[in-house]
C-alpha cells in the first residue's frame, strides 16, 4: 500500500491549480503542498485560451461597469456578491501576474494594452497577443518552480476523493506511467480540474477536458450547480472545433451568412457599422450569437459543408499588419489547420461547445459543502458566470478564485491535525475497483469509442443550443442506457505501464456522470435563460427560476434536482439589451 501525506492537496495544475498553489505557499511556506495533474502542468487546457483576461485598469472604466456587464451577460443568474468580489480582486491579480513576468501586450507608453470583448461595455480585456492562456499558464508554472515546498505529481490521475468523518482528507490517484495507486492524504484539498466540453461532439476543448473533478465530487455527494448552462462559442472551425477567438470580432471581424449579409442585425443586436461597437452586433454575448446561427440555419441562409452548416467570419478588411500583430495565432491556425489565409479569404465557422458555466457548488470562499474540500476554476461554480459567461472573465476567475481557495485551504490545513482511520480501507476498495473493473476485465464487448460517440451525439441532439422536454428526456434515457452498457466495455490493454486506454475508460465514466447532470438540470429548468434555451418555455421566468439548480447523484438513475436562490445585491433583474 502506497501512501503520501501532505498538508494541502491540489488536484489540477491549470491556471486555477497553479495560482492556488502559489497562494498556499505564500500564506504559509511551512506547508507541504501536493499538486496532482493528469498531464504535465504546461499541457493543461488553460494553455489554449486565446483572447484575453478581463480586469478594470484604465481610467475611463469602473468596477461597477465590469460587474454590470458580467451580471447582465449572465442573464441575472450570477451571484452578485461573488461578482463584486471578483471584479474587485481582478486588477490586483492581473498585476501580480504581470509582476511574475506575463508578457502582456503594451501601449506605446509602457502600460498594459486592453482590447474590447463580447458583452463588455468598455475595453478591459488584457491580452498577450492572441495566446493569452498560453502565456498565463507558462508564467504561473515557471513561477511555481521557485517554491520549494511544492511537490508535483505529474501525470497522475485522481480516481476518487478520500472522505471520512465528514471531511475531505485527500484523494486516491493512479500514477499513469507505472499504474501504481497511491493514497494522497491531505488536511485540505482543492479541486481545479477544469471543464467538461468533451461530453459534446464539436468542442473547442482539449482531449483532457472530461469533467473528472466534477464527477469525483458528485460521487462524493457534493452537488453540481447550474449544469444546464453550457456555452457555445459562435466561431469554431467546422471539422476540428478549433477556436477562432472572439478577439477576431473585437478587432473588427464580420459574421456573414450565405448572402454575404451581416445577419446579426436581424436578431436585436444592433445596427451594422464598419468599426466594432461595444456590446453590439459581433460584440454581443456568445449565447445570443450562437442562437442567431441556429435561426439562420433554419432559414436556409447558412452554407452546408462536409462537417455540417457554417457561416463566414471575415477579417480581410483588417489588413495583414493588424492581423499579424493582434491575431497572429488566428492566422497560424487557419493556415495550418484549414489551409486558408484569413488575410485573403473568409474563415468558415460554426458554434461549438466551449465552456461549462456550471460546476461544483461553492460559496464565495471557494468552499464546498464538504469541510476541507475547495474548488476553483472552470470545474467550480461560484457563481459569477450565471447563465452565460462573458469571454475573458474565465482566465481572471482562475486567478481570483484560485488564490482565494489557496488561502482558505492553507488556513484550514493549519487547524487540522491527523487523519481518520478508515482511509486505508477506502484505498483498498478503490485499487480493487480499478483492477477488477478495468485491468483484469475479461469479457467486455462494447468499444469505449462507441459509447463516447453515442454520448456525444445524444447530447448534441437533446441538450444542444435549443432544447425541449422531449429531447432532454430522450437524451437522459440514452445516457442511462449508456451507463449500463459501460459495465460491459472491452479493454484491449491490460498493461500497467502508461495505460492510456484505462485513462480513457475512467474519463468516459466521468463524462457520463457529468452528462446526466447537464440533462437533468436542463429538464428541471422550465424557462429560457442565457445559454439554456427551451423552445417549449421560450421566456425567462424570474418568478420561479431566479435560482441555481443543484444536481445530487443518486445510487441509480438520474440525479435529484434541488434549487437555491440567487444572491442579488444591487442589480435587480432587468432586460438584456445589446446594440440599443
Amino acid at each position: 500500500m502506497s501512501i503520501v501525506q501532505c498538508d494541502v492537496l491540489i488536484i489540477g495544475a491549470g491556471g486555477a491549480g497553479l495560482r492556488a498553489a502559489i497562494a498556499v505557499s505564500e500564506a504559509n511556506p511551512q506547508l507541504k503542498i501536493g499538486i496532482v495533474s493528469k498531464v504535465y502542468p504546461m499541457r493543461s487546457h488553460t494553455v489554449s485560451a486565446e483572447g484575453g483576461a478581463a480586469a478594470v485598469i484604465k481610467e475611463d472604466d469602473s468596477l461597477e461597469h465590469h460587474a454590470y456587464d458580467t451580471i447582465s451577460g449572465g442573464d441575472w443568474l450570477s451571484d452578485q456578491d461573488a461578482v463584486e468580489l471578483f471584479v474587485n480582486q481582478a486588477p490586483k491579480e492581473m498585476i501580480r501576474l504581470e509582476h511574475w513576468g506575463c508578457p502582456w501586450s503594451r501601449e506605446q507608453n509602457g502600460t498594459v494594452a486592453v482590447r474590447p470583448f463580447g458583452g463588455m461595455k468598455m475595453k478591459r480585456t488584457w491580452f498577450a497577443a492572441d495566446k493569452t492562456g498560453f502565456h498565463l499558464l507558462h508564467t504561473l508554472f515557471q513561477t511555481t518552480l521557485k517554491h520549494e515546498n511544492l511537490l508535483r505529481f505529474d501525470e497522475w490521475f485522481v480516481t476518487r476523493l478520500l472522505v471520512e468523518d465528514n471531511r475531505c482528507q485527500g484523494a486516491i490517484a493512479l500514477e499513469i506511467a507505472t499504474g501504481k495507486m497511491t493514497a494522497i492524504k491531505a488536511k485540505s484539498t482543492i479541486i481545479c480540474t477544469g471543464g467538461a466540453g468533451k461530453v459534446f461532439p464539436f468542442t473547442t476543448n482539449a482531449a483532457i477536458k472530461t469533467g473528472d473533478g466534477m464527477a469525483v465530487a458528485y460521487r462524493a455527494g457534493i452537488p453540481l450547480k447550474d449544469m444546464e448552462f453550457v456555452q457555445y462559442h459562435p466561431t469554431g472551425l467546422p471539422f476540428t472545433g478549433i477556436l477562432i477567438t472572439e478577439a477576431a470580432r473585437a478587432e473588427g471581424g464580420y459574421l456573414l451568412n450565405k448572402d454575404e449579409y451581416r445577419y446579426l442585425q436581424d436578431y436585436d443586436l444592433g445596427k451594422p457599422s464598419s468599426k466594432p461597437v461595444l456590446r453590439s452586433m459581433e460584440l454581443g454575448p456568445r449565447d445570443r450569437l450562437s442562437q442567431a446561427f441556429v435561426k439562420e440555419q433554419e432559414k436556409g441562409r447558412t452554407y452546408e459543408g462536409e462537417y455540417g452548416h457554417f457561416v463566414h467570419l471575415d477579417i480581410r478588411h483588417l489588413g495583414e499588419k493588424i492581423i499579424n500583430s493582434k491575431l497572429p495565432f488566428v492566422r497560424e491556425l487557419c493556415i495550418k489547420y484549414e489551409n486558408l489565409d484569413p488575410v485573403k479569404e473568409k474563415i468558415p465557422v460554426r458554434p461549438v461547445v466551449h465552456y461549462m458555466m456550471g460546476g461544483i457548488d461553492t460559496n464565495i470562499e471557494a468552499e464546498t459543502v464538504l469541510p476541507g474540500l475547495y474548488a476553483a476554476g472552470e470545474c467550480a461554480c461560484v457563481s459569477i458566470n450565471g447563465a452565460n459567461r462573458l469571454g475573458s472573465n474565465s482566465l481572471t476567475e482562475l486567478l481570483v478564485f484560485g488564490a482565494i481557495a489557496g488561502r482558505n485551504a492553507a488556513n484550514y490545513a493549519t487547524q487540522q491535525n491527523g487523519f481518520s482511520k478508515g482511509l486505508e480501507a477506502q484505498y483498498k476498495n478503490e485499487a480493487n475497483r480499478i483492477e477488477q473493473n478495468f485491468l483484469k476485465k475479461k469479457e467486455g464487448k462494447v468499444k469505449i469509442a462507441d459509447i463516447r460517440k453515442a454520448m456525444n451525439n445524444t447530447l448534441e441532439a437533446g441538450a444542444g443550443i435549443y432544447r425541449t422536454e422531449t429531447s432532454l428526456k430522450k437524451s437522459q434515457e440514452d445516457i442511462q442506457e449508456l451507463k449500463e452498457r459501460f459495465k460491459y466495455i472491452k479493454m484491449d490493454d491490460s498493461s500497467i505501464t502508461f495505460n492510456t486506454e484505462l485513462i480513457a475508460a475512467l474519463e468516459l465514466s466521468c463524462m457520463l456522470d457529468v452528462a446526466e447532470a447537464v440533462i437533468q438540470s436542463g429538464l428541471h429548468r422550465r424557462e429560457s435563460r442565457g445559454s439554456h434555451q427551451r423552445t417549449d418555455f421560450p421566456n425567462r421566468d424570474d418568478e420561479k427560476f431566479l435560482t441555481h439548480s443543484l444536481a445530487y447523484q443518486k445510487e441509480d438513475g438520474p440525479p435529484d434536482i434541488k434549487f437555491k436562490p440567487v444572491t442579488i445585491t444591487k442589480w435587480a433583474p432587468g432586460e438584456r439589451i445589446y446594440g440599443r
Binding site: 489554449s48 509602457g110 489547420y337 468499444k447
Partner: protein, 247 residues
Amino acid sequence: MKDLITLNVFRYQPEKSKEPTYQEYEIPYHKDWVILDALNYIKDQIDGSLTYRWSCRMGVCGSCGMMVNGKPVLTCATFLESYTPGPIRIEPLENFPVIRDLVIDMSDFLEKLKKVKPWIIRKDVGSEDREYLQTPSQLADYKQYSMCINCMLCYAACPVYGLEPEFIGPAALALAQRYNMDSRDEGKNQRMKALSHDTGIWQCTFVGDCSAVCPKNVDPAGAIQRYKVEGASNWWKTLLLPYASKD
C-alpha cells in the same frame, strides 16, 4: 489518390518484450486528417493498446511531438497529405528514453528547467497597484523566446543532447534568455552562473537543427549563440576589469 494509407508504428511494450518492434496499421486516408487523427483512429477502431500523448489538437499544448519519417514534428499540426502515398514511419522522439510505444520520459527536462531559474528575479518588487512599465519595443526584445511550448522537438533534433544528456539543451537555454532579456528582470548574473559551466551554453556546437524543427519559431540556436557572445564578453570584462563587475 488511394483511400488507404499505411502507418508503420514503433511499439515498445515493456511487459511483453525488452525490445521494440514495428507494427503496421492500414487506415483510411482523409485529406484533412493530421497524423494524430490517424493515431486516434487506430486507437479507437483497431488497437486500443497503442500509446501516445496528445491533448489540445491545436499545436499549443506541446504533447504530441513524434518522429515522422525520421523528423521531429507535432503530429497534430502535420497532415497525412504531406506523406502520401506512404507508408509513414512513426517513432517516439529521439534522444529520450521510451516509456512505452510513442511516449517518452521527459522528466530530465523538467529538472533542467528549474536550473535556469525561469522566473522574474528582482530586488524591489514594486507597487502592487501598478504594472511595471514595458514598451512594445522592450517586449519585442524577448517575445520570441517566450513562445516555447516545451514540445521537446528541439531536444530530439539536437545531436549534442543525444551524445551528452547532461547538456541543458535548447529550450531551457532559450527560456533563460527569455528572462534575461525581459526589461523587468534583474537575474541575469544569477542565471549566467548556472549556464556558463560546461553543461550549459558552451556545449552547444551550433548545429542549428533545433531552430529548424521548432514549430513556434523560438530560435533556440540563436538564443544560445547570443548567450555565448555575452558570456565571452563578460569573461573578458572580468579579466580586464576584475573589480568592475558586480552581482
